[in-house]
Assembly symmetry: C2
Homo-oligomer: 338 residues x 2
Amino acid sequence: LVTKSPIKRKTTTGKVLITPVPFGEIDDKPLRLLEEHNISYMINPIGRRLREDELVEIIREYEALIAGTEPITAHVLQHAHNLRLIARVGVGLDNIDLNFARERGIAITYTPDAPSPAIADLTIAQMLAALRYTHAADRDMRKGVWRSRTGRSLSGCTIGVIGVGRTGRHVIRHLHSWDPIRILANDLVVDDELAKVLDFVWADKETIYRQADIITLHVPLTPQTRNMIGTKELAMMKEEAILINTSRGGVVNEVALVDTLRKRPSFIAAIDVFENEPYSGEMTSLENCLLTCHMGSATRDCRLRMEIEAVREVIHYFTGQPFINEVPEYEYRMQIVK
Amino acid sequence: LVTKSPIKRKTTTGKVLITPVPFGEIDDKPLRLLEEHNISYMINPIGRRLREDELVEIIREYEALIAGTEPITAHVLQHAHNLRLIARVGVGLDNIDLNFARERGIAITYTPDAPSPAIADLTIAQMLAALRYTHAADRDMRKGVWRSRTGRSLSGCTIGVIGVGRTGRHVIRHLHSWDPIRILANDLVVDDELAKVLDFVWADKETIYRQADIITLHVPLTPQTRNMIGTKELAMMKEEAILINTSRGGVVNEVALVDTLRKRPSFIAAIDVFENEPYSGEMTSLENCLLTCHMGSATRDCRLRMEIEAVREVIHYFTGQPFINEVPEYEYRMQIVK
């Protein structure tokens, strides 16, 4: 394990473990910020997402964890004797046992706003790619096949947006540049004012499954959303429906999805997130599935903003200032309610 | 050659040759419209874009041609003894010798508005794909490689739009949903009112080449635009520039582009149109090139609208009504001026 020492070397051991890969590579500003505050850190020595057993072994000494999507389970937390802060780089909290962490007096912060624009971009990219078969055309041409496929225009479509949080709202704003477009949305909280401002119609999930040409998911993974889209829901969807998942893998049941993609060649899915990542399952051999590798937030400006926001929370911890984005109460409750 | 007979069979020989492939396949309404007017037609018997020699052989007897992108040269027109109307399905006229056709008393119509929304969709699709490496991720995953690439957000980019006609305007309207975004545009005619309404800045081409993160071309192929983007222009572009061409192949010099793509791995091109189509050249082996096969207008609604508009012109010809979209005078002039 290589421990990076701070510039001023006032502290002798690492205080912060940084697990996301990459980190500080686009721009070293996040690391410089830590160094300027004499906060020593260690960057993930394995260079990929840590497994639970690896994290258990490494985490013991650290007071703060700048966290990615690795499993921060009760088991891990039981070995994190010095841990007082988890600063999540990102917005999803399904990998952290929030309530167990709280019991052990560990504060948790996240970066809720930073990833949304980048995730929305990937979502629109995959909608258009799926409507126009651009991936298939590129593949064909590399095999020497010139075969134009007739797709569909985004304008005129009915779009179902499930989850109207930060990312869902960004997606809706982009979609309106394709007027006329019909946007049906669903969320736990029905806010009529929001629907008016963003120009969409609230609908129940079944209406969305049955009526939408494109269905896009922007929900967190919680006990209520796990397997939200299964065999029954997929069967309700239009013959030529497009399903986009840039949220979390467990929200769509993968066995049911693979079965649907196999049986219905006109049904298209664009999947960025998987139950187990890295993913190498059956979808990788299906023509009607567009694959990306959990890269919703993978833009330079978005990553940098997320990294700096997480680092700021760590600095606030060590300098005794209040946190900027502590994980709100409802995130804790959502992990309990079934 | 199979000649489709009209339902009422009042005419015994085909009067109209339909060359675009496919035609009337998404919806047979365009063919039904011809049949309802007792206008007999023959659909392209070869099933792909006709070569000049093939067209010479076939065209002789026909009075009207519903045309695609096949070469309608002086040589072809010399053999088109009965031809009185070319109804182009689409907007590009570079495949037709307009002035020679006029000399022979042949009217020419086109469908200028129909393709723009679909071409704009493909343009935005390829911008986002290039910014996020989605094609590369899909290819990787199918080879069992899970490798997230850090891309760029569209918001915050400087976009250079060359050609602010129907398609360029559609593209600009979509781009504004990614505010903050900086749009530099260039056209033959500088209209300050248009720049105000669409919220862009007029710039000369060199400024665009040097400053834009993404350059997108929406010009016709004319003597002035042929080879508009060559070695010199490519050399001005940013190290990580993205060049999108959904206009016409000859606008970008392919030898210069291939050379640039080979030498500059961070430079990305998304190319839909080629000097010679079907294309099977060197670009098909380059990782930093996204390929599609001249499918800008290939959406069902757009194709159907184009087909119906072309058919309407043919009906107007046979029923003695004025044309709806006769090719305007400046299109003829542009083919002469060098």
